[in-house]
């Protein structure tokens, strides 16, 4: 009887130990589609693993590693020096791992006659120097600018990549995610916004070529598209345990195929 009890207890403990939970927080760009799909694929081969995924912006992902409230932080931008400093002060070593590349596409309403802009025009539009479509050769009408909110990595990446770090126009409207921006631009004939590659095919919008280059897997890999960027997992030092396995899976061919399927660009050429 006693032996049976010990055996059952050991089995229960082994079962509990086997049921791993991965907490992943951060970027909406990664967390809305890509990471949940990776998690589903991963669970197929690791049935004991459960996931808690919160996609509330890159800032929250990096803060989660610093505060040790997640094993993996998703970020669509690099950690800022202030974030590195905060992490170092707590004995955390932020390690970036590139998991996919992304292009930030500039989108306009599908009925907008314009299909191309220069980098200079994009900067001037989003900074508020240009306020009417007629100033860039379009049909006269006030430009409505849609941006991500300030906790988004895409918000700061776009400032850095496209706006020479200038502030957005005060009239710009801040949206919670890529889908909301695409939806607003689709509804507003005078709208302009930006979204990740995965959202460029949403209904009612079209993508503007920038200096003649359309964002695509090829133009991002060849580093020809000007608003391309890596996206990251952040961990505390080298990832360990289940987090290491999930990172390994993300970078594997199977994981990178998911990356491509969702609309991002794999970190290396795939067959």
């Amino acid at each position: 009887m006693k032996k049976t009890f010990i055996l059952l207890a050991a089995l229960a403990l082994a079962g509990a130990a086997h049921a791993q939970k991965l907490v992943i927080k951060g970027s909406d760009t990664l967390g809305a589609k890509l990471v949940p799909m990776l998690a589903e694929e991963y669970k197929a081969s690791h049935p004991g693993t459960t996931f808690e995924i919160a996609a509330e912006g890159s800032t929250t992902g990096i803060a989660a590693i610093t505060d040790s409230t997640a094993q993996i932080g998703m970020s669509s931008r690099r950690a800022k020096p202030t974030e590195m400093s905060a992490a170092t002060a707590k004995g955390i070593s932020l390690k970036p791992i590139i998991v996919a590349f992304d292009g930030i596409g500039v989108i306009v309403n599908q009925n907008n006659p314009l299909s191309a802009l220069t980098k200079r025009q994009v900067e001037q539009i989003f900074a508020g120097d240009i306020t009417d479509w007629s100033q860039v050769g379009g049909t006269a009408g006030p430009i409505s600018i849609y941006t991500r909110n300030t906790s988004s990595g895409t918000y700061s990446d776009f400032k850095e990549l496209a706006m020479k770090k200038r502030d957005y126009a005060s009239s710009s409207q801040k949206m919670a995610g890529n889908e909301q921006i695409a939806s607003e631009v689709a509804k507003n004939a005078n709208g302009i916004g930006y979204v990740g590659l995965a959202y460029l095919h949403d209904p009612g919008i079209k993508t503007a070529a920038i200096d003649g280059v359309i964002p695509s897997e090829a133009s991002v890999i060849e580093k020809k598209y000007p608003y391309a960027r890596p996206t990251f997992y952040y961990t505390n030092g080298e990832p360990a345990g289940e987090a290491a396995k999930f990172v390994e899976f993300t970078l594997s061919d199977a994981g990178q195929k998911v990356v491509r399927k969702v609309g991002f660009v794999p970190v290396r050429p795939l067959n």
């Binding site: 202030t82 590195m84 400093s85 006269a140 409505s144 300030t150 906790s151 409207q173 507003n188 580093k223």
Partner: protein, 446 residues
């Protein structure tokens, strides 16, 4: 002799050895190393991270430790040096002038936090609600510092759960769309504000609710209090209810805006409210806020002239719907028509970039019982109601951070049979009949 590959390797090695100095400028070089195939993207990211870590560990800037919930921290402020000549004339013809040099310093620390929270603190010189100016030489001794204190002008927290809603609590910048006719721009009300803003195409709708603690009574149900004398039992609260509409006509610079607002005061019971504002307005005390239920309608139209210069036409009209009772309690029931105030003006240009200038002219007329005299602008018409007159002024941008401003205001009593109530800087003599002020300012912003 040395090919590019060798040079880049050498540079990378140098970067790693002297990362502190180069960390902030190494991005383009690392990008080039990736393009040349010397390192891959992942190695480049690890190199970047190492350089930044080195930077934060070994530089004074990097040693500044900030909370992990902080996403942005900003320090800003301004310094102003002013020459002012203020003068007044009583009904008797007696004349007084006040010639002074003044300075003002304000600095703010604002921060954005995760989950859409933010905070702000602003320190400013001077204690007054309607001024942060310190008068030079206004001390207990030569060059003493008795009037040179630093005070908390703003301290607030905000939560912006969506792009449309903002909630603010604390001592804040005035959240209302208004003008100097009703609110002195230096006033930072204390309390709570809820703001909504939604844009749909060219139409923008917004609303602001404000609950401001005008004055606290201290304790409630005080020891020894009686039903007959319940003084100091309730906080005095001012509420604001504003709805607004903005119509974009062409871009961000051509629009029309109207933003009506209603002000209602609560707990103004004359036996219970705080003493300073108790009782009724009299010839010697304009502070009481009895019988004020003010409706204000500020509106403006902005457009760009053919020569590219921005223009702005603006107006503000207000009426105190309870002015009849205020006039009656004052002892002049015959003056129940002194319930209205208006302010119209036009501005040419905008002094934003170095060398740019603007000029404006305003006409303002305020009935004696139309507005709360504790809130009206302290400069233009000396904090008083029952005044009418002109304001002309302009700004010239000397540089990106410096501006020179000139303002001249001239006013006289609107109704000669009545005092011009208010706590003016030219003296609290309500027999003031004429007033004028000249201000020349050098402003520096950072």
């Amino acid at each position: 002799m040395f090919n590019l590959k060798f040079k880049l390797f050498a540079t990378a090695a140098a970067l790693l050895c002297a990362g502190t100095a180069f960390a902030q400028d190494s991005g383009p070089l690392i990008d080039m190393m990736v393009k040349k195939g010397l390192i891959n993207d992942q190695e480049a990211e690890e190199l970047r991270a190492d350089l930044v870590k080195d930077f934060v560990a070994n530089t004074s800037a990097g040693k500044l430790s900030l909370g992990s919930t902080l996403t942005e921290l900003k320090i800003a402020g301004d310094v102003r040096v002013r020459y002012e000549d203020r003068a007044g004339e009583l009904v008797t013809g007696d004349h007084q002038e006040r010639d002074r040099f003044r300075y003002r310093f304000r600095t703010s620390l604002t921060g954005k936090l995760v989950n859409n929270w933010a905070f702000g603190v602003r320190l400013e010189t001077a204690t007054g609600s309607r001024s942060s100016n310190v008068t030079m030489g206004d001390d207990a001794g030569p060059f003493a510092k008795t009037s040179d204190g630093v005070f908390v002008g703003q301290i607030y927290a905000t939560w912006t759960p969506t792009s449309e809603w903002t909630f603010t609590a604390g001592r804040m910048a005035n959240p209302l769309v208004t003008t100097s006719m009703v609110w002195d721009a230096d006033i930072n009300p204390e309390g709570f504000a809820e703001q909504y803003r939604h844009r749909q195409g060219n139409n923008e709708f917004f609303g602001t609710l404000g609950q401001f603690l005008y004055s606290t009574s201290g304790n409630q149900n005080i020891f020894g209090g009686t039903a007959a004398a319940p003084a100091g039992t309730k906080d005095l609260i001012m509420t604001a209810w504003q709805g607004g509409y903005k119509r974009y006509i062409s871009g961000a610079t051509n629009f029309f805006q109207i933003a009506p607002v209603v002000y209602a005061y609560y707990n103004t019971d004359q036996r219970a409210n705080p003493a300073a504002f108790n009782a009724v307005m009299t010839a010697t005390n304009a502070a009481p806020i009895n019988n004020l239920f003010v409706v204000e309608v500020p509106l403006e139209y902005n457009w760009v002239a053919k020569n590219g210069v921005p223009l702005r036409a603006f107006a503000d009209v207000a009426i105190n719907l309870d002015a009849k009772a205020r006039a009656q309690k004052f002892g002049r029931a015959d003056l129940n028509g002194e319930d209205k105030a208006y302010h119209v003006g036009i501005q040419y240009g905008k002094a934003s970039l170095p060398g740019e200038w603007d000029a404006r002219v305003i006409y303002q007329s305020v009935g004696a019982f139309a507005l709360d005299t504790n809130l009206v602008d302290s400069d233009l018409f000396d904090s008083r109601t029952n005044m009418k007159g002109f304001v002309v002024g302009g700004n010239y941008a000397l540089g990106a951070a410096t501006q020179f401003s000139l303002t001249l205001a001239q006013a006289e009593r609107k109704n000669d049979s009545l005092i011009a109530p208010g706590s003016g800087d030219i003296g609290s003599n309500n027999a003031l009949n004429k007033f004028w002020v000249l201000q020349a300012d050098l402003n520096i912003k950072f």
